[in-house]
C-alpha cells in the first residue's frame, strides 16, 4: 500500500511539474473566462457567489455564471445536459461522493499543481480532502463548510427553562428539553420537516452517541455497525426529538418556525450555520439565540461535515483554462473564503483562517473551534442528510427510512434499524 501511494504521489508530482508552465502560459496569453453552473441564485447564497464573481472580474476575468434555481436536482439536470451535449461548464457546483461519480462520465481537470502551489492540502480536513481527489488527484475544490448538527438555542426558551448552561451530551440535551417543556415552551424542538431536516435529526443523534459507530455504519456501511446498539440508541434519541416537535410542521422548511423559535414558543433547532444567515436576514438579532456544537456523549465536539465545492471540467479553450486556474486560486485564497463565509454564515474550509476578527459571529467561531477539536480527536464525520457520506442513490434510500421513522411514531427503533439495513442492501 505505501509503495502505491508514493508512486502515485511521484506521478502526480511530475504531472504537476509538466502542467504548471502550461497553466502559466495560458494565463499570460488570454483574458481568463469562466463558465459556471450552480443552484445559488438568491439570498445569501446568491450574494456570496456574486461577490466571488466580482473578485474574478477584478482579477481581469470574464464571469459567466448561469444559476439554475430550484432543487439540486435541477442543477444536476442542467449539468448532465451540458455534458451530454459535449459542452460542460468550466466549473460547476457539486459535492461529496457525487464528485467521484460524475468524474467518471466526463474528463476533469487535474488541479494537483495548483493545490500544491497554494499549500492547500495541509489546511483541509483529511476526510474532506479525500472527497475532492477521487483516484488521488485533486479535481474539485471545497469552498465552505457547515456542521449540520449545531444547536441553535432560543434565549427566551432558555429563560423559561431557567437553564444556566448549554447542553454538552444527549443526556444534558434531553434534560434541557424537558425543562423547557415544564417551563412553558410549547415545543422544545423547532426544526422543519423536509427530508434533509429529518435526516439531520438522526445523524446528529447517531454521531453524537458514537462518532466511531457512525463512521462505520453510515460512511463505511459496515454490516455489524448498521445493526449495532449505537444505531438503535440513535433511533431512540431521534424519536425523542420527533416527539418534542410541532406535529403540524408537515413538509415546511425550518424557516417557517423562526418567529416561534425566537419568541421562546419553541426552544432548540438542530441546524447548520446557514440558519444564522436566515435568522439575520429575517431581521432577528444575535441576542435572540445562542449557537453551540451539537451534543456529544464523550463530551468532545462531533462535527458533521457538509461542504460545498466546485468541480472543474476539462475544456480545450485557452481562455477557459486560464479562467479555471484563476478560479481555483481564488477558491483556495483565505481572503476569498473569509468573504464567502461571512456572507453565508458558514466557516472557511481552511483551518488556518483566524476567526477572531470582526465580521465573524460567536457561532461561527464555535463552529470553527469544534472543527479543529473534532479533527484532532477523529470526530469529524461526513453528513448523510446533506449528501456527503454516500452517493445520492444510497443517501436517498436511507433518508426514505429516516423520514418515515420521524413522521410515523408507530415504527419502533428496532424496526427502523432493520429497515435501514435493508434499504442499504437494496440500494447497493
Amino acid at each position: 500500500m505505501p509503495i502505491t501511494t508514493t508512486r502515485r504521489r511521484l506521478l502526480a508530482g511530475s504531472a504537476a511539474a509538466l502542467a504548471l508552465p502550461a497553466f502559466a502560459r495560458a494565463q499570460g496569453a488570454v483574458k481568463p473566462r469562466l463558465t459556471a453552473i450552480s443552484q445559488w441564485s438568491a439570498g445569501s447564497d446568491g450574494a456570496a457567489i456574486t461577490a466571488l464573481g466580482k473578485k474574478f472580474e477584478e482579477k481581469g476575468g470574464i464571469w459567466q455564471h448561469s444559476p439554475v434555481p430550484g432543487f439540486t436536482t435541477e442543477m444536476m439536470n442542467k449539468l448532465r445536459a451540458q455534458i451530454i451535449a459535449g459542452d460542460p461548464p468550466a466549473c460547476s457546483q457539486l459535492k461529496g461522493p457525487e464528485i467521484a461519480a460524475w468524474s467518471k462520465i466526463a474528463p476533469t481537470v487535474n488541479l494537483d499543481a495548483l493545490v500544491a502551489a497554494a499549500g492547500y492540502e495541509k489546511v483541509v480536513a483529511p476526510d474532506l480532502a479525500k472527497l475532492h481527489k477521487p483516484g488521488g488527484k485533486w479535481i474539485a475544490l471545497p469552498l465552505q463548510i457547515y456542521s449540520t448538527n449545531m444547536l441553535f438555542l432560543s434565549k427566551r426558551a432558555l429563560d423559561k427553562a431557567k437553564a444556566d448552561k448549554t447542553p454538552v451530551t444527549w443526556a444534558d440535551f434531553n434534560d434541557l428539553a424537558e425543562k423547557m417543556k415544564a417551563g412553558g415552551v410549547t415545543y422544545p424542538i423547532a426544526n422543519g420537516g423536509t427530508r434533509p431536516d429529518d435526516g439531520q435529526k438522526f445523524e446528529a443523534s447517531f454521531a453524537g452517541i458514537s462518532p466511531a459507530a457512525y463512521r462505520a455504519a453510515i460512511m463505511n456501511l459496515d454490516k455489524n455497525a448498521l445493526e449495532g446498539p449505537e444505531i438503535r440508541a440513535a433511533f431512540a434519541q431521534t424519536r425523542k426529538i420527533a416527539d418534542w416537535m410541532d406535529p403540524n410542521v408537515g413538509a415546511q422548511p425550518f424557516a417557517t418556525n423562526l418567529k416561534r423559535f425566537v419568541d421562546g414558543d419553541m426552544g432548540i433547532m438542530i441546524q447548520g450555520g446557514w440558519a444564522q444567515g436566515v435568522l439575520r436576514n429575517a431581521g432577528f438579532k444575535f441576542d435572540d439565540f445562542i449557537i453551540v456544537p451539537g451534543p456529544s456523549d464523550n463530551s468532545k465536539p462531533v462535527f458533521l461535515l457538509n461542504a460545498d465545492a466546485f468541480i472543474f471540467w476539462q475544456r480545450s479553450e485557452p481562455d477557459l483554462q486560464a479562467g479555471q486556474t484563476l478560479m481555483a486560486q481564488l477558491v483556495m485564497d483565505p481572503a476569498i473564503q473569509t468573504m464567502y463565509s461571512q456572507i453565508t454564515g458558514s466557516i472557511p474550509v481552511r483551518t488556518d483562517v483566524d476567526l477572531s476578527g470582526e465580521g465573524w459571529s460567536d457561532g461561527q467561531r464555535r463552529t470553527a473551534g469544534a472543527l479543529k477539536d473534532a479533527v484532532a480527536n477523529n470526530q469529524a464525520v461526513l453528513s448523510l442528510a446533506h449528501n456527503m457520506a454516500q452517493e445520492n442513490g444510497l443517501t436517498a434510500a436511507m433518508i426514505d427510512v429516516l423520514t418515515e421513522y420521524v413522521k410515523n411514531k408507530t415504527i419502533k427503533p428496532e424496526q427502523a434499524v432493520t429497515r435501514l439495513a435493508e434499504a442499504v442492501e437494496g440500494a447497493r
Binding site: S41, A42, S44, T50, A81, G283
Partner: protein
Amino acid sequence: MRDRTFAPSRMLIYLVVLLVAVAYLVPLIVVVLNSLRSNEEIAQTSMIGWPLRWAFGNYLTAWSDFCVAQTCAGIRPYMLNSALVTIPATIFSTLLGAVAGYAVSLWRFRGDQWIYGIVTLGIFLPQQMRLLPWTIVLRDMGLMNTLTGLVMIHTIQGLSFTVLFCRNYYVSVPQELIRAARIDGAGFFRIFWRIILPLSPPILVVTVIWQFTHIWNEFLYGVTFTTGQQQPVTAALIALSAAVADIPQNGVQSAAVMIAALPTLLIYLIGGKYFVRGLTAGAVK
C-alpha cells in the same frame, strides 16, 4: 326551468355557487395579501395574514430589482424570454393541430386513425421521461441553449393536445358540408379556409389557452435547455422561493407571482368568455 324569478331554489343555487367561488378565490387572496407584505413581516408573523404595513414596493422589486445571482433586473427580462418561447410555440402548435385535426376528422386518409391514436397517446407520456431524449435531440440539432429549441419541443409535444382538441371538435361538423364543397371543386386548403376556420374560434380559443398556460408555466425544460440570460419566468420565480439555506422571500415572490401570472390570467379572462359563447352560438349541432 329557466325563468328569472327569485324562488327559494334559485337562492340556493346562488348560495352554492357563491360559496364555491369564495373557496376558489382563497389561494389567490392569500397571494395578493402576501404580495403586499414585506418579507420580514411574513417571516416574523405568519404565512397568512392581513398586511400590517402595505408593502407596495414589492411589486417594483419584483418587476425590475431583485437579483437572480449576478443579474439584478427583476422578473422583466425573464417575462420576455417566456413570451419569446410561448407565443410562437402556441401559434405553431395550434395551427398545425387544427389542420391535422381537420384532416383526421373530415378528410380521412389511409392510416389516419392509427397516427391519430399514437399522437394523442402522447398526452400521457410524462415530461420527466422525455427530458433526456430531448437533450440528445437538441444536441444533435445543435439547438442546445437556444429558444428555438424550446419552441420546437413545445410545438411538437403540444400537437398531442391540439390534435386531440381539434379533431374531437371537427368530428361533429357534418360530412355533407365537406362533400358539397368538394363537388363545387374546393380543395383541402380552400375548404379549411372557407368552411372550417370560420367554425373554429371556440376550439382555437381552447387550444390557445391550454397551450399558452402550459408553456408559460413550464419549468423543467425551461431551466435545463437554456442558460443564464435566456431562462424563462418560472426559473426566476423558483429562485425567489424557499431555498434550504435561505429565508423565503415570500413578499416579493408573491408580487412576482402576480406579475408572472398576468398574461395567463388575461388569456383566461378574455378567452373563457369566447369559448363558451362560441359553442353556444350554435355553430355546432
